[in-house]
């Protein structure tokens, strides 16, 4: 892979962003961050990411809203999106998939699983 995979993490929690950043940087990914859906969309207007990792519960624009907006834009329509979820029940997974997520990462995440999840969706 000649180009570094760039990942946009979207979470209103600074500590969660920091945990993601540390885990992703260690594995050689580029990381950009946004605090919520609105900021993520603003960032995506002028930038691009190979994978978006987003939390669900966020102020202003939540994860589902972000996915919907991303999926309705022509530039990012097939952008892989991983959602951070605290539950791994089949119902939650279905909900995430139905919302347009490509996959999910169960919090608290294990850095290895995070990397595997990214690998499985990064085009």
């Amino acid at each position: 892979m000649e180009k570094t995979t760039k990942i946009l993490t979207v979470d209103d929690s600074r500590s969660m962003r920091a945990l993601l950043r540390v885990a992703l940087l260690e594995r050689g990914y580029d990381v950009a961050e946004a605090e919520d859906g609105v900021e993520a969309l603003e960032w995506l207007e002028t930038n691009s990411a190979d994978v978006i990792i987003t939390d669900i519960n966020m102020p202003r624009l939540d994860g589902f809203g972000l996915i919907e907006k991303v999926r309705s834009s022509s530039r990012h329509i097939d952008r892989p999106i991983l959602v951070l979820t605290t539950e791994s029940s089949d119902e939650k997974k279905k909900r995430a998939r139905d919302a347009g997520a490509t996959g999910w990462i169960v919090k608290p995440f294990d850095p290895e699983k995070l990397a595997a999840a990214v690998r499985r969706v990064a085009h």
Binding site: A18, F64, S72
Partner: protein, 791 residues
């Protein structure tokens, strides 16, 4: 960034989340809650839960989970806000605060059994109420499922039409899988009901643990929706050591029917026996039902081999050209990112892409990723105005702030303090050289002061952080005492020094307890006295003439002076026949040893007396006063300095020493007339100040100053008042100046010295000691009534 750094960030977030949750909960209680209020409480609790999980705070995580469950029901409207629910949420919130403290290691893990049980009961009630609705999508958050659209692809009929010809590609696989009807397996209907396949795998000799895995993968239409790409999943299988042994392509439709968003190929992989089954299944976790998957322990089987065997090479050569976006055999090109119109570029009649390449080459799905069912088609779920509203609130809530290490800040303030001193020294020495009138000096002086003010204001914090703890205390007391209390808070934005804010918590807590426990009457008494059954406690802060005034007022019965008086007599604090003014009686409650068991219940009297409160306030350089009105309540007022680092003082000369007397203590200064002086023997003198005799303390003695005036008549006397030891008079040679000074701690720079509160550097560069007037006077007058100073 280390884990500890992140942990600290988490704790800061917890503080913010708790503050936000409490604000929201108070709104709920006052009935002014909106949907966004509940949302924000939910988010706060949820974010604490997330971090708690990440950092392994299991007790905190478990508790937040229960709290969150109830909040989610509230958010979804299944639990209407009411008194009982508000009460429970507040109790849960208080416990959550304790749990966070425990996570920080500041407290023991609280016992949450009762509240947890209540939360679970509440959740159970919500579930029972509309149990069936539990999975219903939340209108605000969950977009309508895309499912419907996906199901429009009638996979069954689509695949059924094709059927027929069996052509597969396979790597020469020596060990073959069990007999399997691959076609059936890949049939949508069959695969959808995975359970029905179990007998088939059972039928196969599959109980051999050492056999390689046979993995059958059949992506369906949805597998490529939402940015998914089955190719990546197949690569993961390869990463586990898997090899593609066959590709099943007989479902590939005629070109005219070809849908770029659909998936037509099936793959057979052989994965080493050593790989864990879960590891294989995990790969396909994301695609779920959108990808048929069978993982079978498989021996070689003839039927299987036959089915998959037809020479792969022939197949590849013979097969028609590869469809535009589909990968070339060896390296797998990712499907084009843009939706591709499949029909156009394909020349061949039936687009089939079959890749069967030796070793690690991976097959690729024959379909490019195409436009997933357009999300735009989904109903817009988040109303624009709601989002805008939330955005507005968020903007208001989060001020523009940065976090700075306190040590850095203190260094800045220290340096600015030095600058102020240097500036004063320069001004002084310039004026000694007759250059005092330079304009620039005035400018510099002003700039320095502004710089100092700004630096000090950085350390200033709104008192709200202390006030915010009060509602909880009030709630707890309401429960304990059975009294109803309305708390009115004002002036939360008033700023004062961080250290003062931090140390204010304890005295404030005590005063609040005192106000509710003693100040307010019981509900019955209030009703009997024609008062509102709900007692009012007002907490306010304001900036006034260089000080911060904090008052705690209740509308209760006021201080029962008779009782206080008799208690004080009983305790031997005053003579039974003492003539005291109302104010003096009121102040008796601050006397050390005024144990008020008869008056104080176990709530306020938790080992801390009002004397400790007064001491705390005094340590902060402030004072506390009481105004009490029988039948109408009491007001405790704390007057605190804006900062601990700078203070106003009187610079005095005692022999060869220059000293600073903090201005807070100074009442007046005077030159005595001989007639007002009384010698008490022992070298002790008293001065008659308008009818009251005050002891004169000769500062030269404790300080060890040389050449000071020895007789009061030759000296300047400064009347000072203290908290504990009453008023006294300090005898000095002269008053030099009265100005602000920067306090330097002796304790940090040298060691604590009795009667000295610190030191400062004067304009001429000399160091002057700052007197600790309270200790000085206290020790001077305490020794058998005689003057004895700790020299």
């Amino acid at each position: 960034m280390t884990n500890d750094d992140i942990l600290n960030i988490f704790f800061l977030e917890c503080e913010e989340a708790l503050a936000a949750a409490e604000t929201g909960l108070m709104d709920c209680r006052e009935g002014s809650a909106s949907a966004e209020t509940v949302n924000s409480i939910f988010r706060s609790v949820h974010s604490i839960k997330g971090g708690a999980g990440a950092f392994g705070f299991t007790a905190l995580q478990a508790f937040t989970h229960k709290f969150e469950t109830v909040l989610s029901f509230v958010r979804e409207g299944q639990l209407p806000l009411g008194e009982a629910l508000n009460g429970l949420m507040l109790r849960a919130f208080d416990l959550l605060t304790d749990h966070v403290s425990a996570a920080r290691g500041e407290a023991d893990t609280p016992d949450d059994t009762a509240v947890s049980a209540d939360l679970e009961a509440m959740a159970a009630r919500a579930e029972a109420g509309e149990g069936a609705e539990e999975e219903a999508p939340v209108a605000e958050e969950i977009p309508a499922p895309v499912e419907d659209i996906l199901l429009d692809f009638d996979l069954d009929s689509l695949l059924g039409d094709i059927g027929g010809e069996e052509s597969s590609a396979a790597e020469a696989a020596p060990e073959m899988g069990p007999e399997l009807d691959i076609d059936a397996l890949f049939d949508a209907e069959m695969a959808a009901a995975e359970a029905s396949l179990a007998p088939e795998s059972d039928a196969a000799p599959a109980d051999n643990d050492s056999a390689d895995w046979t993995v059958l993968v059949r992506p369906r239409a949805g597998a490529m929706a939402n940015g998914g790409d089955p190719l990546l999943l197949l690569r993961e299988l390869e990463a586990l050591g898997g090899k593609c042994t066959a590709v099943h392509h007989n479902h590939v439709p005629e070109l005219a029917d070809f849908d770029a968003a659909n998936a037509y190929l099936g793959f057979v992989f052989q994965v080493p026996a050593s790989v864990d089954e879960d590891a294989i299944r995990d790969i396909f976790d994301f695609v779920g039902d959108d990808c048929g998957l069978e993982v079978i322990r498989g021996d070689a089987g003839d039927g299987f081999a036959k089915m998959m065997a037809p020479e792969p090479e022939k197949l590849v050569r013979e097969e028609r050209p590869i469809v535009a976006p589909v990968a070339a055999p060896v390296t797998i090109a990712a499907p084009a990112a843009a939706p591709v119109k499949v029909a156009a570029p394909v020349a061949a009649p039936t687009p089939v892409a079959v890749v069967a390449k030796a070793a690690p080459a991976a097959p690729t799905p024959a379909t490019p990723v195409a436009a997933a069912p357009s999300p735009a088609a989904k109903p817009a779920v988040t109303p624009e105005n709601a989002a805008a509203d939330a955005a507005r609130k968020a903007t208001v809530a989060s001020g523009q702030t940065i976090r700075v290490d306190l040590a850095k800040l203190d260094r800045l303030i220290d340096t600015v303090g030095e600058l102020v001193i240097a500036q004063a020294m320069m001004a002084q020495s310039l004026s000694e050289h007759g250059l005092g009138q330079i304009d620039e000096i005035g400018m510099l002086d002003q700039l320095t002061r502004e710089l100092q003010d700004s630096a000090m204001s950085i350390r200033a914090q709104p008192i709200g952080s202390v006030f915010s703890r009060v509602p909880r205390i009030v709630r707890e007391l309401e429960t304990e005492t059975g009294k109803r209390v309305r708390l009115e808070v004002s002036g939360e934005q008033t700023e004062l020094d961080k250290t003062v804010v931090e140390r204010l918590g304890e005295p404030l807590t005590h005063l609040i307890r005192n106000a509710i426990d003693h100040g307010l009457e019981s509900t019955e008494t209030r009703i009997a006295n024609g008062k509102s059954p709900e007692g009012v406690v007002k907490l306010s802060a304001e900036h006034r003439s260089g000080k911060i005034l904090i008052s705690i007022a209740d509308d209760g019965a006021g201080i029962n002076r008779e009782r206080v008086f008799s208690k004080a007599v009983e305790k031997g604090l005053i003579a039974p026949d003492a003539q005291l003014t109302d104010e003096e009686i009121d102040n008796l409650i601050f006397a050390p040893g005024f144990s008020t068991a008869a008056v104080v219940s176990n709530i306020s009297g938790r080992g801390v007396g009002m004397d400790v409160v007064r001491q705390n306030v005094k340590d902060l350089g402030g004072r506390i006063t009481i105004q009490s009105n029988p039948g109408r309540g009491s007001v405790f007022t704390l007057a605190l300095p804006l900062t601990l680092a700078i203070s106003d003082g009187m610079i005095v000369q005692v022999g060869d020493q220059t000293l600073v007397v903090p201005l807070t203590h100074v009442v007046e200064s005077l030159r005595p007339s001989t007639s007002d002086l009384r010698s008490m023997g022992n070298g002790r003198n008293m001065l008659d100040v308008r009818g009251t005799f005050l002891p004169i303390i000769e500062l030269a003695k404790p300080i060890g100053a040389q050449g000071a005036a020895l007789r009061p008549e030759e000296a300047v006397l400064i009347v000072v008042e203290t908290e504990d030891a009453g008023s006294a008079i300090l005898m000095v040679d002269a008053i030099l100046d009265q100005r602000q000074f920067v306090i330097k701690s002796l304790e940090t720079n040298y060691r604590p010295v009795p009667c000295v509160a610190g030191a400062t550097i004067l304009g001429d560069g000399k160091v002057a000691l700052i007197l600790d007037v309270d200790t000085l006077v206290g020790s001077a007058v305490s020794y058998n009534g005689g003057v004895r100073l700790a020299a």
